[in-house]
Symmetry: C2
Subunit: 350 residues, 2 copies
DNA sequence: CTGAAAGCGCTAACAT
DNA sequence: ATGTTAGCGCTTTCAG
């Protein structure tokens, strides 16, 4: 218990316990078979010396670093940090640590992280990929992902043209239901704001379209506007644009959590109240939504994280296992932001 | 470029380049001296084989894993994820990766992480400690922190009785100024809500008291209420309590970002408007604050992160360097949540 | 059940 | 400027 010196090694323990270091290894690594007597002696020596095995040395020898990496756009994003939280918790349970890597939504940085991770012999990767533009990935990049010989599961977004495990919400279905809900209230002109680049958002748009079609409502493409990632106050700008150009709108449907606050700013500016002047639905739960009583499609991010880790460990045990897609349920939390559409053109003045 | 096999080693490169592995090491590690000719050959071979050095092996040999760990309560906290973002960015620049560890504000878990990190030979630690209850740390724990022979800088919170580097905001000063601002508007009865357990919050309370004293206002301890960490909707509950028991209050001062949303919920419920019915100041920036036009004390979290990393690297180079405390400026962003106090007892009805 | 020996991939002395 | 050698701390054959 006394000496916390870094340099106590398995040899010291072996010497003190009067056994070989192989036996010590068996005890601390919990493999092979050791007599009770030896085990006791080793355990005592470990305690006596305050010995902790060197994970680095273990890693070099055993090719397992007990580390997984999470690569994503930015930990500052609400979805992402909830995800990382869940992943770390789950990994810790299994004795793994997690390395965090922000790509800043930059493909080159993602590649760089991936390379780096290879050199670190990380055991597995959970990735929210940048490349998801709805086009099949260029050969140059595809090669990188496929050649990377490391267990990997994608979360949230898919990469077209690549065979990888994926865990994500039922985006299309949830979006379909949400839109149907608006339609059932009487809305026929629903504006949509989202960052179209992401496969996730594309799926949500598909669901939106399907619901409209099913209700026999003509689809007006100009009601769906694309919010460039990382542009400041883009939600506000686009809400303004939509409301200005489409006085017929009676509802707004926001596809990214990050945009909603900014959209609310615009509603406030125009003195538009929910649900009387305008109905609103948004994705992802947030304190904001509760405060403003906004009806929300909640993703079970914790569950997504847990599933991703679970699948990753399966992959680590059996790297040949075929890629599969897991779609996690969502929940629509109905609050008070949606109502029957107004017949008066409240915003024609704008 | 062809083979992305894991098992390409420095030997393969040496063989292909026709030099010794020592020379290869010199080139990729960029030390010692190598002839231009050899260097070229090595670089070519590296490219040819798509070789990446094994960080684990490097670490075992050189005792530097190029990894730092960040240990904190929860990555879900806004302050924390901004901090981690800044740290990761800064670390990446220097070729370091960051390991993330959540303590869930649990001291035992923190210790566990610290132990684990030791076995991983992490080069340095940035820690937002759990133990900060304002009492000197018990010997049992103190020993653990001090014996841990690894460069470490604390962020945000201090541990009494321990000599460690610390980077934090000028909590006392900022709080003093904020309170003075409220006083200057005419407020004399200012309710305070915060999680008192944290040294940070204690400093903020000190600043609040100093401003009151200086203005000759009698300090009423019952105006400062303690929000238990992790209790749900505690902000709302405490705001309710304060307003109920102290109808003389004309301003609320919230010391943790996490509490503010919940406090707003209570104001909404009581139909209290800022600044007419009540003035409000809160700590930490947030979209919420902008949306509600709340005057806010903004911490420069990015700068705190950068400073912490910078200091950590100094410590890593010179572990004997004496512990020092860095206090980072804050900024009060004045919005519209504060005004002159009402003379009418608006909330006496409650 | 246990020990001896080899070696994971690299860097750091020490030669030359 | 370059190669040789040893060995970081551990796990893993392979004998016994």
């Amino acid at each position: 218990m006394e000496n916390s010196n870094q340099s106590i090694t398995i040899d010291d323990v072996a010497k003190l316990a009067g056994v070989s270091k192989a036996t010590v290894g068996r005890v601390i690594g919990n493999y092979g078979s050791v007599s009770d007597k030896s085990r006791r002696k080793v355990i005592e020596a470990v305690k006596e010396l305050d010995y902790v095995p060197n994970t680095i040395a273990q890693g070099l020898r055993s090719h397992s670093t007990k580390t997984i990496a999470v690569i994503l756009g930015s930990i500052k994003n609400g979805y992402c940090n909830e995800l990382v939280y869940a992943i770390e918790k789950e990994a810790m349970k299994r004795g793994y640590n997690v390395l965090i890597c922000n790509t800043h939504e930059n493909l080159d940085k993602e590649i760089q992280h991936l390379q780096n991770i290879r050199s670190r012999q990380v055991d597995g990767v959970i990735l929210i990929p940048v490349y998801t533009i709805g086009k099949v990935i260029p050969e140059k990049y595809r090669h990188l992902y496929e050649s990377l010989n490391i267990p990997m599961v994608l979360v949230d977004r898919n990469i077209m043209g690549i065979e990888k495990d994926l865990v994500q919400s039922k985006n299309e279905e949830a979006s379909y239901e949400a839109t149907k809900y608006l339609i059932s209230l009487g809305h026929r002109n629903i504006g949509v704001i989202g960052t179209v680049a992401y496969s996730t958002v594309q799926d949500r748009i598909k669901g939106y379209r399907r619901a409209l079609q099913e209700a026999g409502i003509t689809i007006n493409a100009s009601l769906v506007v694309d919010a460039e990632y990382s542009e400041k106050h883009v939600g506000q700008k686009l809400a303004d644009k939509l409301l200005k150009e489409h006085p017929e709108l009676t509802a707004l449907y926001v596809l990214n959590n990050t945009l909603c606050g900014s959209v609310l700013l615009e509603l406030k500016k125009r003195n538009l109240h929910m649900p009387d002047d305008l109905s609103l639905i948004t994705w992802d739960d947030d304190e904001l939504n509760e405060l403003f009583d906004i009806t929300t499609i909640v993703q079970y991010v914790e569950e997504i994280g847990r599933s991703a880790v679970k699948r990753l460990f399966e992959l680590m045990e059996n790297p040949q296992s075929r890629a599969e897609i897991q779609r996690i349920d969502t929940e629509m939390v109905v609050r008070k932001s949606c109502g029957k559409p107004k017949t008066v053109r409240w915003n024609s003045k704008a």
